[in-house]
């Protein structure tokens, strides 16, 4: 196993105070991120995939609360360890982390760029906050970055506004802007969802190239398992704020252990198996207000019908292999049988 994870999240829980009551968005989530590797987080709506990564940057809204027991241990570029969950909101340390150490790109780039400033203005501002360089140097760096992400005419683009660019170009500009500060971790929250497939392929290729060049670790969030499989080394499958299954991408896709992951894969139409019928996961995703007790998936799980344990006891992640974990009571039994 890798020696030193860059980021270790343990027992992260986040809840929201809403009009309809207290809503658990992330429930006791744990994962690690190795330097230079890509972790894909896949999940449907309400899975908490976005919320958990926003918690890593402490970008949660005011009505959200991170549970006291949560730990987000991060090793900075200097080698020091900080617990992001315990940092003061609006503290200097947190501002240093945001952008400088951990950067983020979003589904909708227009949300990341102000329409009042040019792309260059915003990139240079970010660079100069985190790196001690002059205005001219910052401008030069920005142009280099824009060129690097494949923008045509970067000298021209730098003085344009985000709304003057197409969706794909905006996404490139946002990647350039995020990487200009040389972060150690890049969080990509559904960065290709709003794009067409041909552009999506371009952006995925670009991210892979940039990762090789700059060596940053990536947390890639998507609802699309196929996209994740193209870019991730490891996959974390989330459902209703819980981690269902974690492991290397090939294991997850070829030998999924958790009934939810299996269901997800069976529900995806595949060009390489068009005759295979689509098998939907029965039922609906429960409303966050009606979180099932026990295993959160038991209301839709085909194996949980006569298992009272699934309905009452929260399963804990079990190793099916050294680096492959799944949280399912059925697996506990299997593993026990195996050891017997």
């Amino acid at each position: 196993m890798a020696s030193n994870p860059l980021l270790t999240v343990s027992n992260l829980s986040v809840c929201f105070h809403t009009d309809e009551g207290l809503v658990t968005a992330v429930d006791d989530l744990s994962f690690t991120l190795e330097p230079g590797k890509t972790l894909g987080i896949v999940g449907e709506s309400g899975s908490g995939k976005s919320v958990s990564t926003k918690a890593l940057m402490r970008l949660l809204p005011d009505y959200a609360a991170i549970a006291p027991a949560s730990r987000i241990l991060y090793q900075t570029k200097q080698g020091a360890y900080v617990d992001i969950a315990q940092l003061e909101a609006r503290s200097k340390a947190l501002n240093q982390l945001r952008g400088g150490e951990i950067a983020m790109i979003f589904q909708e780039p227009s949300a990341a760029f102000s329409s009042l400033y040019t792309i260059g203005n915003q990139m240079m501002e970010g660079i100069r906050i985190h790196r001690n360089v002059s205005r001219d140097q910052a401008r030069k760096l920005s142009i280099e970055m824009l060129d690097r992400v494949g923008m045509t005419n970067p000298e021209l683009r730098i003085d344009q506004y985000a709304f003057q660019l197409s969706g794909g170009m905006r996404q490139r500009a946002m990647i350039a802007s995020a990487l200009a500060m040389r972060p150690a971790v890049l969080i990509a929250d559904e960065p290709t969802t709003a794009l067409d497939v041909t552009i999506q392929a371009q952006i995925l290729d670009l991210l892979k190239e940039l990762q090789q060049e700059f060596g940053m670790a990536i947390i890639f969030i998507s609802h699309d398992l196929a996209v994740i499989s193209q870019i991730a080394n490891d996959v974390l499958v989330m459902y209703l704020g819980k981690d269902m299954e974690t492991g290397p991408v090939r294991d997850i896709i070829r030998t999924p252990q958790h009934p939810y992951t299996q269901g997800l894969i069976n529900a995806i139409p595949r060009l390489d198996a068009l005759d295979r019928p689509l098998v939907p996961i029965p039922g609906d995703i429960p409303s966050p207000l009606e979180r099932p007790a026990g295993c959160v998936f038991h209301t839709r799980c085909p194996h949980a019908i006569d298992t009272p344990r699934c309905r009452t006891v929260v399963p804990s992640p079990t190793h099916t292999q050294s680096d492959h974990l799944a949280a399912c009571h059925l697996l506990d039994e299997k593993v026990l049988e195996g050891t017997r």
């Binding site: 392929a201 699309d224 139409p269 595949r270 060009l271 689509l278």
Partner: protein
Amino acid sequence: MTDPIVSVRNLKVHYPIGGGFLKGKPQVVRAVDGVSFDILPGQIFGLVGESGSGKTTVGRAILKAAPITSGDVTLRVGAATLPVDQLKGKGLKALRRHAQMIFQDPYASLSPRMTVRDIIAEPLEAMQLTRTRQETDRRVRDVAEKCRLNLEHLRRFPHAFSGGQRQRIAIARALVSDPSFLIADEAVAALDVSIQANILNLLKTLQQDMNLAFMFISHDLSVVAYFCDVVAVMYLGEIVEIAPTERLFSQPTHPYTQALLSAIPPLDPDATRNRVRLTGEIPSPVTPPSGCRFHTRCPVAQTACHSIKPEWTQITSNHGVACHLVADQVGDRSEPVREYADR
């Protein structure tokens, strides 16, 4: 061969933008620029394309929800034929009754202030298709049952439902007037994967039970491949290729279709594929490129492509394509994406 239920000939939809009172001459968006195809009864016709390809506008034009600039659109109802592009008043009512639409966003397409029962009953009540309230209620319950909605929930308001349930309500509304033709515009794009399969299966069952003709508009080729009988690929307001699904996915002929197929990420990370990589992005429909509209991004474009518009060529009776290179390609049948056919 049976007569088509929907027939579109040289359909053009051009919008003016930016102009107006004392604001100068408007620019013209050529959203749809000369599109022709037929949909047979009981057939599922897929229309795919990237954003800006005009696929949604084609769907709306067929339902006369977008202004038809020129061209003929006809809908066959029994023995009668409705000329959609000329419909008014009573004829329009017949069109509304026999051709319906399912929208993409089930959160936006249901009136938040109406109960589920009222939403589903809307076509019946608006077009006065039923005589009594009892009859309306009966038809609402019938169709709700068909769409696997809980009848207990008809009193509820849309805010009580999840995306998948809402989409089932929208489907029930589209089916309540007993139409013969249904347009689904990205009907599963906003849904979660596990729910998407559910809705697709429901649509397929309903299609078979009611012998509906379907026009399935989508950007997602995997869904189209699974769901449709025939697929048309659109690029910048034009159809570049039409073929039966299996043939299109095994022998894509137009370079754009090939690129589109190869851009779909396969589920297995080790799936070997010859990537046809497209550079650049879809040009503006205000000033479409001359000649073949795809030539600015085409990896195999030749000089002729820049200036001469490619002719529509039927490779087989049901596989047509608009590309100058077709003649060359028929010989060495599109190697690049072979592996989709094998398994």
